[in-house]
């Protein structure tokens, strides 16, 4: 057990060669995974992740160290390694003992039933039910591979400014993997039913069976889908999961990590017009029930709502502590990390396009030829983004017609968000997924109302 006195000693050692800030991040996390393949339970695994990260700053210079040897001697030795990295600065700090003040922030995702209190067989029953149901949805389902996950992450953060903050994040998930096909045409895909909840995530089976139905029917739709000739057309993005568009086209570029590295088209544009008037983009880690929410960010600050773009005007960036030092900006509670093996950096939480005033039906009916994207897959961000389309359709003369296959979107985000010409009235959330970046895999959601880009490149056949 690491007590406050020991933590104070570690921080003092970390700062002994001139660092001006030190932080200790403790993580203790339990995970359970149950694999169900070809109608049998094939593996059950329990995992324990436990360790400490030590973060030292000196101006804009950073040092991050982590270890899972939690003996006090090892932690002091690790802190000493960090101090030696900074030793060339020829200065030293003499700190007194630090008085830590524990801040209490309420996690917006309260838990009713701890997953660890539920026996494996109840979790297996859910896997069997959703898998059996999935096979029955369509006879072209060839193989199902279902996995149950739950995890319980406890974190505590202490820093040299006296901060002491704690959080407990619990979530539950079923991952459905399926292979579908006929006559030599096969497709496989996976998708997650993810909830920032305990075992109560599964108390209403209609919810997860609806998820399975939507996943399988969408995947099977590929079999009869037709190829699409690449071209530039208006593209309508459905409400909900298509918020990934915002995550990849500009979310990553609005992180202070990208701004400070000069790898963002949004650098230096605060206060300027960067998108169409219809675009108000928000990142909010406080929304109850969403996968990207938490009590605090991973630097101990209570999560908050950040308006990034308001009516097309760039209002701010997502800023962590180090990014704030590099850009001379305050933290926006956006310092996030997968766990103790990663230094925190600026990351998104729940990112969404605010609802507008346009009619959802009209934005399709007014398109002579275009593409309707119902569901997006994963992608990558940066100045140029790329996102795979999981489910897309042709729009002909104002109506959604054929299912299309092999669609991929890519382009330059800052150019495309100027072409948003419709934003619908109904904001639709999504379950969420993980986002991979320099501080590991973090839970996020990205959502929106139905929205239209007046003209963009759609890659296909």
């Amino acid at each position: 057990m690491i007590n406050k006195k020991n933590i104070s000693e570690i921080i003092k050692t970390a700062l002994s060669t001139g660092g001006d800030f030190a932080e200790i991040f403790l993580e203790d996390k339990d995970e359970l995974r149950i694999n169900y393949k070809r109608n049998k339970v094939t593996a059950i695994t329990t995992s324990r992740i436990k360790g400490v990260g030590i973060y030292i700053l000196l101006g804009s210079r950073s040092v991050y160290l982590h270890t899972n040897d939690l003996s006090q001697s090892s932690l002091l030795e690790t802190a000493k390694v960090g101090a030696e990295f900074l030793a060339n600065k020829q200065s030293s700090n003499k700190l007194n003992n630090i008085n830590f003040n524990c801040s209490k922030s309420i996690n917006p995702n309260p838990i009713k039933t701890l997953p660890s209190l539920i026996a494996h067989n109840k979790k297996i029953d859910i896997l069997k039910e959703i898998t059996d149901y999935s096979y029955k949805i369509d006879k072209r389902v060839i193989n199902m591979d279902s996995t149950y996950f739950d995890n319980d992450q406890k974190i505590a953060i202490y820093n040299s400014e006296g901060l002491h903050a704690v959080d407990r994040r619990i979530n539950s998930k079923i991952r459905l993997g399926a292979t579908v096909g006929q006559e030599g045409s096969y497709y496989d895909e996976w998708e997650d039913f993810t909830k920032a909840k305990g075992f109560e995530a599964f108390e209403n089976n209609e919810e997860y069976l609806d998820f399975a139905h939507s996943f399988i029917t969408s995947l099977v739709g590929n079999i009869d889908a037709v190829p699409f000739e690449s071209c530039r057309v208006p593209v309508v993005f459905e409400g909900g999961n298509c918020g990934t568009f915002w995550h990849e086209t500009c979310g990553h570029q609005l992180e202070s990590y990208a701004i400070a590295r000069n790898s963002s088209d949004f650098e230096g544009l605060i206060g300027q017009k960067v998108a169409s008037d219809k675009v108000t983009l928000v990142d909010d880690g406080t929304i109850a029930g969403l996968y990207g929410s938490a009590a605090i960010d991973d630097e101990g600050n209570p999560t908050k709502r950040n308006v990034l773009i308001e009516k097309g005007i760039l209002k701010g960036y997502l800023v962590d502590r180090l990014g704030g030092r590099l850009l001379n900006m305050p933290s926006t509670s956006s310092g996030r990390r997968q766990g103790y093996t990663f230094a925190p950096t600026s990351r998104m939480t729940n990112t969404y396009l605010q609802a507008g005033e346009d009619c959802e039906d009209e934005m399709i009916s007014s398109v002579e030829k275009g593409v309707f994207v119902k569901k997006l897959g994963g992608g990558t961000g940066g100045r140029e983004f790329s996102i795979a389309v999981k489910e897309g359709y042709l729009i002909e003369e104002g109506r959604i017609t054929k299912r299309l296959k092999g669609l991929i979107l890519n382009g330059r985000g800052i150019e495309l968000i100027k072409k948003v010409d419709r934003v619908g009235k109904k904001l639709v959330t999504e379950d969420g997924s993980f986002c991979g970046a320099s501080s590991g895999l973090c839970p996020v959601t990205s959502f929106q109302p139905r929205m239209r880009i007046s003209n963009m490149f759609v890659g296909g056949k």
Partner: protein, 445 residues
């Protein structure tokens, strides 16, 4: 407290209801130095010990911990308890013998790391007038792998990898460009900085003044980085686990590529610092020619997948193959250093041979744009139009599409410029030279 000795004792004192058990202990130590403007801008240090356990009665269960205060006997019990609800009898065949221990004196010289980072930064800044700033990271990883089981298998091996990566910001005609390149070696002196610089300049110059182009079927030169990007996902076709659900199903011992296409999985290669002695089940890591002159000769196997088809394991048991928010404890199949065998021609000769076509210099997000079951791909990319063997103009907003098997069959020439990249999770490497491919669909707006 978990250490090798306490694990050995736990394995010797297995309770009668546990038939066998195995520990795989991975200790990873990593140092990183970040340099920009000749100054050290950041450092990191990591020291993590991971303990993977499997235990079998009638079935097999798994457990994993980073909590070094756990008792190895309790961990075996935890893994065994996880086996009780298993419905699939997975045999759990373990390697039954073998001792190996090579623990070289692997030291880390921080000043050397800083010096190499500064040198690469300096060279890059001088290499092209549009390059405005460079951040170089030098990283030294030391991995000590230990496998021990209740049949007496007891192996240890230590690997050191030195790694340089460069992140460039360039400005050309008021537009800012970013790109990165990286390379590893056993020692920093083994890393060919000129290769890094050549690749950076090649990709950078291919981005300037790019315009869109027309769709069509073209002969293309796929840059080594593009082929590596494709094979970073496509390797799964050659896995003993994925084979039965993949685009290669039923094609073992048949021709799946052109005569120019030879694919090798190897425990070592001079273009990377990674090297392997045995896999996570303790099986020796040898060289395996998977495809020879287009003919699919074999697959990569762990013990179980090899047993299921009557083959020998190939030393490809591993765990970290995909990005996942959870710890991957199941033993699956992963490559070691999987690469396309290089030919003799350099890039200039390849462009001359291509004569008229498209040189694809960069591709994006292949993980989401290749379907392993069907083999179909649709990959966003950019490149240069080639006329009479020379770069004519740069083009962007394109995708290349088709089927992986057709791509392998249409490989007409393979270059000598092999490039090897580590997978993000540091568990394996993928390599390829640049290749000429005919009849490739290029789709543009």
């Amino acid at each position: 407290m978990i250490n090798l000795e306490s694990c050995r004792i736990a394995l010797k004192e297995l309770p009668p209801h546990i038939k066998n058990a195995e520990f795989n202990i991975e200790k990873n130590t990593s140092y990183l130095v970040k340099v920009t403007g000749k100054e050290v801008a950041g450092n990191s240090y990591s020291d993590i010990t991971e303990v993977f356990v499997r235990a079998s009665g009638e079935k097999t269960g798994f457990a994993y911990t980073q909590d070094l205060n756990e008792n190895p006997k309790d961990l075996i019990t935890k893994a065994y308890n996880n086996s009780l609800d298993i419905e699939f009898s997975n045999l759990n065949i373990l390697n039954k013998e073998g001792r190996y221990e090579v623990l070289p004196e692997n030291t880390v010289n921080l000043q050397e790391m800083v010096n190499y980072a500064r040198l690469l930064e300096e060279k890059l800044l001088k290499s092209h007038k549009s390059i405005e700033s460079v951040v170089v990271e030098s990283r030294t990883d030391i991995n000590r792998s230990s496998i021990l089981n209740s049949y007496g298998l007891d192996k240890r091996y230590e690997r050191k990898v030195s790694y340089l990566s460069a992140h460039i910001v360039a400005k050309y005609q008021d537009k800012v460009y970013n790109l990165s390149n990286a390379m590893s070696g056993r020692q920093y002196r083994d890393i060919d900085m000129e290769d890094i610089i050549d690749q950076v300049i090649n990709q950078l110059e291919s981005q300037f003044n790019a315009r869109s182009y027309k769709s069509g079927v073209y002969s293309c030169l796929l840059d080594k980085s593009v082929m590596v990007n494709i094979m970073m996902t496509a390797w799964q076709l050659f896995s003993g686990i994925k084979y039965s659900d993949s685009a290669l199903t039923g094609r073992l011992n048949s021709t799946i590529g052109s005569a120019a296409f030879t694919l090798i999985d190897s425990p070592a290669h001079h273009k990377t610092g990674y090297h392997y002695r045995f896999d996570c089940e303790g099986t020796e890591a040898g060289e395996n020619i998977l495809v020879e002159n287009g003919y699919l000769k074999g697959l990569m196997h762990n013990i179980l997948t090899a047993h299921s088809v009557g083959h020998k394991p190939t030393g490809n048991a591993g765990r970290y193959a995909l990005l996942s928010g959870t710890i991957p404890t199941d033993i699956i199949v992963v490559p070691k250093i999987l690469y396309i065998k290089p030919g003799k021609k350099d890039r200039r000769d390849l462009l001359k041979q291509l004569k008229d076509g498209i040189y694809i210099t960069e591709s994006y997000d292949v993980f989401h744009s290749i379907n392993i079951s069907s083999g179909n791909f649709s990959i966003p990319c950019r490149g240069s139009l080639i006329r009479n063997g020379k770069k004519a103009e740069n083009i962007t907003e394109m995708t290349i599409s088709g089927n992986l098997i057709d791509l392998f069959k249409n490989i007409k020439e393979v270059g000598n410029d092999i490039y090897i990249e580590e997978f993000l999770k540091k568990s394996y490497c993928i390599g390829s030279p640049s290749v000429i491919v005919t009849n490739l669909n290029v789709n543009a707006g």
